[in-house]
Symmetry: D2
Subunit: 140 residues, 4 copies
């Protein structure tokens, strides 16, 4: 796990400004160029009608891991925005902790393609797969 | 707005059991066969690093509107699960209230295709578009 | 059906240069700003193992209708490229003619969101739905 | 490359019945449980307006690789149908041969999640990435 250094600090600073990530208890686990891991512990406040972790939580975490993996490939004066993504919710989110690993497929001048795999706490059961497009934008 | 009746009650009962929807302040606005509208007011706890409503909130709301529009087409002893969806985040979520309108495209025996349009509070600016697949499952 | 005029000619000129569209027998049916309709007749050469029109044909047609609807919103010195799309193949393609209607959802400075509905020859049965992202690029 | 055996024959027999695959010159390169590779040589008849291989060809090939990788996990009296997919067209298809490698992510009782990576002839440049859902259906 890489949890320090210049590239980590950049992502961590942005991460901390996201109130919604605080609300769901998301944590930054690992940052390297082209790859970011985030996690989220099970809480009763994050469940759907059957008591499982809500698909919206799984999706938010996957999106964040794709977005920040993309941001690691961009110049310092740039910001990342999600253009679109698609997610397959492959297994019920029965786990004490979701782990989303985002990775860049291709970093272009304007767009970045990225994917994320969300697993249970063991890292072995795939709960969801995302394929996403991010856009590089100036910091406002 | 249709906010009562047997079909409304079915959706409302399920909606109320979703802790995550309570957490983000989602509300059920309208239920008819094949169409469900849900909304969510802007709160500081739901924002990303630029102070806009988080894409994860927009997506969760769209997913819920697709899922419940699908559920209105299913027999009473059935439950709905999201198989997958794709969302285009078309405009920044600058609004005091998100409104997601989910509609069934085709209700099959096993799968239901649905789409959702998320707008700002005026109902005129499209913030996101979702295309989704839901599966019919027995209530456990 | 609009099948003449400056905007029609622009799309028709590009359409004619696509050998693959000739191979599958695609035809340009209608062009207006933000909306393009293309069609394709059933031929034995376009079928899958069960004798139905191949999903690849349905998808190609939908992609073309999205791309050209996007191109109608761009300056004359620009070209359109598909970034990504998602398609739901909702019903078996049992028809003598596929009709794909592409429409722009939002035309931005860099990206255009578009969607397409593919129907049978009657225009009533939805065979597929696409949600797509196009990018504006200089003509090379 | 695995190009013989019972599992290869099953896929090959179905592959041969697809007229559309003959039309675009698709070839079956490799079959193992959960993984199928297909390819397609560049021909002028498969190009778009800039002379590149058409996105519809890239997509058809990716879809076929996902579908057949899913079929390898299903009982012999079952057939595979594509429910939906999403594809990112990451680089222009500048190559003499497209290679699509489809792999199963999860084989369920009703649905199979699969993904495909399409590369150029060197196998190194990623041209496209697909994430797909297949359904198991009885042979009619």
């Amino acid at each position: 796990m890489i949890t320090s250094g210049k590239i980590y600090d950049r992502i961590f600073n942005s991460f901390q400004k996201q109130n919604f990530l605080k609300l769901i208890g998301a944590e930054l686990e690992h940052v390297e160029k082209g790859k970011v891991i985030v996690s989220c512990k099970r809480q009763d406040s994050l469940t759907q009608q059957q008591g499982l972790l809500h698909g919206g939580v799984v999706t938010s975490l996957a999106d964040v891991s794709c977005g920040y993996s993309a941001l690691t490939t961009m110049p310092d004066d740039r910001e990342v925005l999600t253009v679109e993504f698609k997610i397959n919710l492959i297994r019920p989110a029965v786990t004490n902790k979701l782990i989303a690993t985002g990775q860049v497929i291709k970093a272009g001048k304007t767009l970045v393609s990225a994917e994320s795999t969300v697993t249970d706490e063991s890292g072995e059961k795939i709960i969801a797969k995302m394929l996403a497009t991010m856009i590089i934008s100036p910091i406002k």
